[in-house]
Symmetry: C2
Subunit: 338 residues, 2 copies
């Protein structure tokens, strides 16, 4: 088997989760599919902790690693507080180190976290830097949320729009190709979407209003994948409407040109918030006051057999089957075009 990237759920279950013991009474949420951050009981508070590596070639890897790890803390309803970056650098790249540490410091400042530990080394055999980032937060025990705590009738809010990260990656990677076909200002704006990758403000604003039952940041598989994971983890049904979702001009134009479905393209930067109907409009207003656009896009249903998104043309996108992210196909197309 030749896998690249993150271990698929089935193999994760068989090769990792099955082998590990999980019998700790203090462990409120442990390692399981779709639940990335662990939650540990600390009396009145819970500790929320998550480790995530960045192994791909990424511009501003230090900044990115902080935000990606902190997103998983914030989606639990916890403020990210403490960071432990493990930096593995190609031998000799000491100026890269300074740049990465500055980027980490900048991102930490942005989310209000501090670096409390970590490790730095030059690792023989690496051709690019790798960062493994551990982020920690805490929140009152009666206030944390998970992906699995949706209830029937809850409304689903989506912040910022669909395919935020995907639009930015494609704009950066396919820039030359796109610039021959679309206005330059549009490509330039799309390239900067990556700056919106943090959902910490989105998540903390939502929980400050109250009534939030679950949150999830849609990454691989896009917003469709994220909605599917909410329903699966909660063992409930779901309906969402494409026409209610923010799809930015940049996303629409660029993704249609490369044949990627905006609903199925990686969307770090967006947050799915599941809340009681009485609070949902108030959460949307509070987000707008903070400069975060958001819309109510759907509802949690009682019947787990009903899981779908109504497309603009009225067709249904079924959320029972596995959702493959369209980003990789789009980038492969680029390889051919180059």
């Amino acid at each position: 088997m030749e896998w690249e990237g993150k271990l698929p759920p089935k193999l994760l279950e068989e090769y990792v989760l099955k082998i590990l013991r999980k019998d700790d009474p203090r462990l409120l949420v442990g390692p399981s599919i779709g639940e990335d951050a662990a939650i540990i009981d600390f009396g009145e508070k819970v500790l929320v902790i998550h480790s995530d590596p960045i192994t791909g070639a990424v511009q501003g890897i230090g900044w990115y690693a902080v935000h990606i790890a902190c997103n998983d803390i914030a989606t639990r309803g916890a403020k990210p507080r403490w960071l432990l970056p493990v930096l593995l650098l190609p031998v000799g790249q000491i100026s890269l180190l300074k740049e990465i540490v500055k980027d980490i410091a900048k991102a930490a400042e942005e989310v209000g976290a501090v670096v409390v530990g970590g490790h730095t080394e030059f690792t023989p055999g690496l051709n690019r830097p790798i960062i493994s980032m551990t982020a920690i937060g805490e929140v009152d025990k009666n206030r944390y949320v998970t992906t699995s705590m949706c209830r029937p009738g809850d409304l689903i809010i989506l912040t910022k729009g669909v395919a935020i990260e995907g639009t930015s990656i494609i704009a950066n990677e396919l820039e030359e190709y796109l610039k021959k076909r679309l206005p330059e200002y549009l490509i330039e704006r799309a390239k900067k979407f990556t700056r919106e990758i943090s959902v910490v403000k989105d998540a903390l604003t939502a929980v400050s209003v109250g009534g939030v039952h679950a949150m999830h940041d849609p990454t691989e598989g896009g917003v469709a994948g994220g909605i599917q994971e909410l329903a699966m983890a909660s063992k409930l049904g779901v309906v969402a409407y494409e026409e209610k979702m923010i799809i930015r001009e940049e996303t629409r134009e660029i993704l249609s040109l490369v044949g990627a479905d905006p609903l199925k393209t990686i969307s770090s930067g967006s947050l799915l918030i599941v809340a009681v109907p009485s609070k949902a409009p108030e959460i949307v207003k509070a987000l707008k006051r903070e400069g975060v656009q958001a819309t109510i896009i759907g509802e949690i249903l009682d019947d787990p057999r009903k899981r779908y998104i109504v497309r603009k043309d009225g067709r249904r996108l079924d959320l029972h089957q596995h959702i493959k992210d369209d980003l990789w196909e789009a980038l492969k197309k680029y390889e051919v075009l180059k």
Copy 2:
């Protein structure tokens, strides 16, 4: 500058620590030279957390990564409780994954910790597995110890002996060479020293007796380096006596053959415990009851100008200068011998 391995203290200060903010009132011990595990205030308890990568080719890397990370938790006086392993594997090595996860589960069981999160992926471009392990523990706020809390008059206890890990590495790496010159049973025993790499029992036994002011596990630079770091961190003097230290037959024979000083060779597996004189003998007895050999090897002095080890021949090993680990020279010799 071509550095390999862990960033040296001076560069760590300039390229990392200087750039980071540390102004968190809850952060009792943050990132600084010689203090690896962070300590965060949680009211009556403190959280002890540490991340450490294993990037070299290591037999049983999963088992080793757990113990190395947990050692840093235990030397704070805290029981390791929770683990987040980030596993980066060469593409296609799925059978290796199963082995590593089993090794992690085994080591976690040995120290009484559970895996609460983490990440597994197959990373393009890697030729060996890399593990970044985060370990977490907790301890009462009035009971944690650091490297810097030594007081004048405190006695120093060393567990297990000197150069435990170094003896094992050399026995494994130079096996062919050594077997032509030393009895086989001795090499075979030395190779197994790596099994003694955990100091969790040593540390927790010591703190259960009480009177412990500081602990440190001597890694690079050996026991001499570890004693130096205790004195430097505490801004005090120190005297220790080689003749009081346990130097096993295997260590003495093997290290003398390759010209490595047992006091200056990497010694993970040993623990330096600094305790009030009235408690030190009791700690040694408690350790022996647990099957851990230990001796009182020296004393903390008031005068920071006095930092030395009295060798068996009466000469003094000054602990003001940088102590270079002898392991690397010994292994280079092997390259020539091969």
